[in-house]
């Protein structure tokens, strides 16, 4: 269908069909639940941090292809990473989604932070209502990080 290729890239559909790192982690892993009040979607992020490194991450919940694939790619991208790297990635991703920083200023892309597969979500910016879908898991991740 013309026009939607930007949004529904093959790699997004692939992560949607076969989401990576699905499941749960038992306590003491951190666990945060994110809600998209618009559509009622929910996402669970489980995070096991040891020595400031993400040892393991799991994702649960339900959502549309954008929120599910974003969560799946996020989980891949942060696994094994140091916490400062994870925070930098969150920042880079939010910048790509045109979300300003805490002071309301645009986030300049940091070229040292590699987005990898996540680059495929670039097209979401053209569909403003879907930005919330793409960032749901990332905001939930920040909550889980705050707990660990």
């Amino acid at each position: 269908m013309p026009g939607l290729e930007d949004l529904y890239r093959e790699i997004i559909l692939d992560h949607h069909r076969t989401p990576r790192n699905r499941g749960e982690l038992p306590p003491p892993a951190a666990h945060a639940v994110g809600h998209n009040p618009l559509c009622g979607d929910e996402i669970d992020v489980y995070l096991q941090v040891e020595n400031d490194i993400v040892k393991d991450v799991k994702v649960g919940g339900q959502g549309c292809s954008i929120s599910q694939s974003s969560a799946s790619m996020m989980s891949q991208a942060i696994k094994g990473k140091k916490l400062p790297e994870v925070r930098a990635l969150v920042r880079r991703f939010k910048g790509m989604m045109s979300i300003p920083d805490e002071d309301g200023n645009p986030i300049e892309p940091d070229p040292s932070v590699k987005l990898g597969d996540l680059e495929a979500l670039q097209g979401v910016v053209k569909y403003p209502v879907r930005i919330k879908c793409a960032t749901l898991s990332w905001n939930t991740l920040l909550e889980a990080l705050a707990q660990s």
Binding site: L4, Y8, C39, D41
Partner: protein, 411 residues
């Protein structure tokens, strides 16, 4: 041949004649909010260009004429829902405010700790949260009427649920599944149990003949924007005796007879419940919407929607079989033309995004009915709702667009 000629009707709605990317607009979100006919748009423009003035407070000619226009709209509402008296019609901001008014004013004056309010599992949040707020403040108890498998109210235990209840609040038509409830029977059951009947008629009034006296209701609430009128105005109708006995809701100008340093005296109905400057131009627009609907005939509107709903159920079933789930009743006698659907496991957000490529506007989400979503076992649905300007061709376009969703998400 359909009862209404939707093609001719559509021509009276400027927005529906728009094309986007060379394709016509197929607006299937009227359960959310309806489009506006030229006559409504013109009535508001003309009023603002020639007759606008504040109401009730000034002696000059223009203000008196504006007051007449505003009160004329009230009388149109009165006739449209067959209310006994015009002053039983209270203008609010929308149905939500009307339901809050009942819960706050009637509820606070008449309910105390342990009193029971019965609601149903298919209510819009607007008929849930105000009662929950009252429950938090006053310690009232909420009970719930469950649903049958096909999305109707399960009334088998109604007498037990109603026993000791002081309020029965229910929707006349579900905004999610299109279910039409047996309002008259429910009002009678409420009264038999000594409860008042609060009817959320927001989805019913735009699509059916409404007769509050035949219903035997105590309060009904609805919004102008879903019935071809402007947003910004809604209606609470209440039985005169109840409204008379209730304390005011919002305080301020227009709702008082007298204000002294040591207190105030309320105005008569309906001003008592209309604090502050009301939506004047919007009332004129609502009046024009009622004229428009009355000219078409609400019985014809209902008949037309039965035809479209039947065609939609038949077509979608024939084309997609078990790949499509239509929530709610299959019997058109007890449903309107609002359909929540699940299609081939495609998430509603994705579905509505793909349909939008063909200018098919459907809403994806929980439709402000999260308890019902949990009951249906979903987070969200895609909802296609048809109105008097939609026809069977719109159903076909929807079906074609659904096909193209499979191209992307096909399994």
């Amino acid at each position: 041949m359909s009862t209404l000629d939707a093609a001719t009707i559509k021509k009276q709605f400027p927005l529906l004649l728009r094309e986007i990317n060379g394709l016509p607009l197929v607006y299937l979100d009227s359960a959310n909010s309806s489009q506006k006919p030229q006559s409504v748009i013109d009535s508001m423009t003309t009023f603002m260009e020639q007759s606008y003035a504040p109401i009730n407070r000034s002696a000059y000619h223009l203000a008196a004429a504006a007051t007449d226009a505003f009160e004329g709209a009230r009388e149109k509402v009165q006739r449209f829902i067959n209310a006994r008296r015009a002053h039983e019609v209270v203008f609010t901001k929308n149905a939500t405010e009307a339901l809050n008014l009942v819960a706050y004013s009637w509820g606070r004056a008449n309910l105390s700790s342990g009193d029971v309010v019965l609601l149903t599992h298919m209510e819009h949040h607007a008929n849930i949260v105000p009662w929950q707020m009252l429950a938090q403040d006053k310690g009232i108890v909420l009970r719930w009427v469950p649903l049958t498998a096909d999305g109707q109210l399960d009334l088998t235990t109604l007498p037990e649920l109603l026993a000791g209840a002081k309020v029965f609040g229910f929707t006349a038509m579900s905004n999610v599944m299109g279910t039409i409830t047996p309002v008259q029977q429910l009002c009678a059951a409420a009264h038999k149990a000594g409860a008042i009947a609060v009817v959320d008629a927001c989805q019913y009034v735009p699509h059916n003949v409404t007769d509050v006296q035949a219903w035997g209701a105590d309060f009904i609430a609805f919004s102008s924007h879903k019935m071809c009128g402007p947003s910004g105005i809604g209606v609470l109708w209440g039985r005169e005796e109840l409204l008379q006995a209730m304390p005011p809701f919002l305080g301020g100008g227009n709702m008082i007879l007298d204000v002294r340093l040591d207190g105030f005296t309320c105005a008569e109905l309906p001003a008592k419940f209309e604090a502050g400057t009301p939506p004047i131009t919007e009332a004129v627009g609502l009046g024009a919407a009622i004229d428009f609907l009355t000219d078409l005939g609400m019985a014809n509107v209902r008949q037309h929607e039965i035809e479209v709903a039947s065609y939609a159920m038949r077509t979608l079933r024939e084309r997609f079989g078990d790949d499509i789930t239509l929530h709610g009743p299959t019997n058109v006698e007890v449903r309107g033309a609002t359909f929540s659907l699940a299609f081939r496991g495609i998430h509603p957000h994705d579905l509505s995004q793909v349909l939008d490529q063909r200018n098919v506007c459907v809403r994806a989400g929980h439709h402000c009915a999260k308890p019902l979503m949990r009951e249906l076992g979903v987070n969200a649905t895609a909802r296609a709702s048809f109105y008097l300007y939609n026809d069977t061709a719109d159903v076909d376009t929807l079906a074609d667009a659904l096909d193209s969703a499979s191209d992307i998400f096909g399994s």
